[in-house]
């Protein structure tokens, strides 16, 4: 997966997490990304999301 393609998939998944997508962004997603790319990046982003939450929790509990 080329770097630009990877970035495009990350952007699509980021918007998916928010649950919003612009019409132009959506059009470019369906023409330029495959289902497998989105699925793999989606799982990676879920793990990153968990990591971010754990990091936040560590930070909060460390301060206390």
């Amino acid at each position: 997966m080329a770097l630009a393609q990877l970035w495009r998939a990350f952007v699509a998944v980021f918007w998916a997490f928010l649950g919003v997508r612009s019409e132009s962004g959506y059009k470019s997603d369906i023409t330029k990304l495959s289902f497998a790319q989105v699925a793999v990046v989606g799982i990676i982003c879920t793990l990153l999301f968990i990591g971010t939450l754990v990091g936040l929790v560590m930070y909060v509990t460390h301060k206390a």
Partner: protein
Amino acid sequence: MEAAHAHAHDDHHHAPAGIGRYFTTTNHKDIGSMYMWFSLIMFFVGGFMALVIRAELFQPGIQIVNPDVFNQLTTIHALVMIFGAVMPAFVGYANWQIPLMVGASDMAFARMNNWSFWLMPPAAALLVGSFLVPGGAAGSGWTLYPPLSIQGGISVDMTILAVHIMGASSIMGSINIITTILNMRAPGMTLMRMPMFVWTWLITAYLLIAVMPVLAGAVTMLLTDRHFGTHFFNAAGGGDPTMFMHIFWFFGHPEVYIMILPAFGIISHIIPTFARKPLFGYASMVYATASIALLSFIVWGHHMFTVGMPAAGNLFFMYATMLIAVPTGVKVFNWIATLWKGSITFETPMLFAIGFVSLFTIGGFSGLVLAVTPVDITLHNTYYVVAHFHYVLFSGAIFSIMGGAYYWLPKWTGHMYDETLGKVHFWLTAISFNITFFPQHFLGLAGMPRRIPDYAPQFTEFNQISSIGAFLLGFSQLLFLYVVIKCIRGGVKAEAKAWEGAEGLEWTVPSPAPYHTFETPPAFH
């Protein structure tokens, strides 16, 4: 030869006669109808149990059932409603609608489909029949927490077996649904052009395949603890009952979404039809559904805030749970945006859809309240929780099922249902639902515990209001049964496109949908 050919052709358009056909049928419409009738019967069985519970709670003290039977009723009411009513209803919709919506001739694995359905009645018989065995039904609560579920009698084994069978049925159903959706769509229907109901079921089916084996594992460990000398959950033998809770809720929380995502799908069809506008933000809806499904795996701990987790664990699950409100809020926003400036009419399906959006949102908000760890520590195991999950499951899942039934009845039966009676049914249901469950928020905030047959006198008034509402709610559903039977027997002839604003392949076939449809894949534009 000519005659034989004509005869063979006829067979494609006439259903086999006789009641016996239902045992061997592989037709998605027959199987869909059986799922829905099964679901409706279980809805009344579970509803009857709920009315016994509410009758007992009409006043303090023990009047009708002893505490043991009360616990059995709450346990089996929940299991029957979740696994017997809500889930089979959605599988019934999937069977009827997915092939029609994607332009497929039937489900991918038609014989497995028959087996998926016929596993359900034995499972239901085990659950409901367990009231008759010595010691009565399982009384551990639907979550089957040890040590109660380890100590219970033979009925717990029956419940475990029922859960296993229903899980197998769900997994087979899911494999069927995924294969049908991925492989049998009409040419031209790309993934991102599928109807929303198909999308929500595709994601739900993956969730089912992911979590049903987890539940099967948990109840198998219970079974071996009970009979084969293991100590997974037995503290006396070095096991840990808390581990069961973690495993159970790793299944249990995605299960919540299994029961609500198809509802989102149905509502996403009804609202555009009666607002006469395309669904606002289709792509956002698909993205939000996928996102909710992924998040559903990392929030199970919010069911266990009072169990005793490290503060970091509680915080993690609190943050993650609150974040689910974001994609869910997007969905509610999109439904409202679809209504915005639409030419809205309020037929019965639309009334149920609007009721869904309004009341499900209340359930969502009380869920956010419960997501706050310190608040949950106060409200855990109170009636506030009972109010919350009935707002998401009754005015969420069941409202969508009722709305969907009115929406597609013309397609299934070929007749329009009685609109006046449908509207009466909606208003009776919506009003009595709120009379039943809204006061339970107050009871919970005042500290009334759930799953208890007796209570302190200060809770009496709200309990009486709730019980009166429950009886009204229960008996109102008989009207639904009457409307459905009346619609099957006759009524105004439904057109192929029964609703002016309806879109999709299912509205291109005649009403009632012929026994075999889309033998040649339709053109999809």
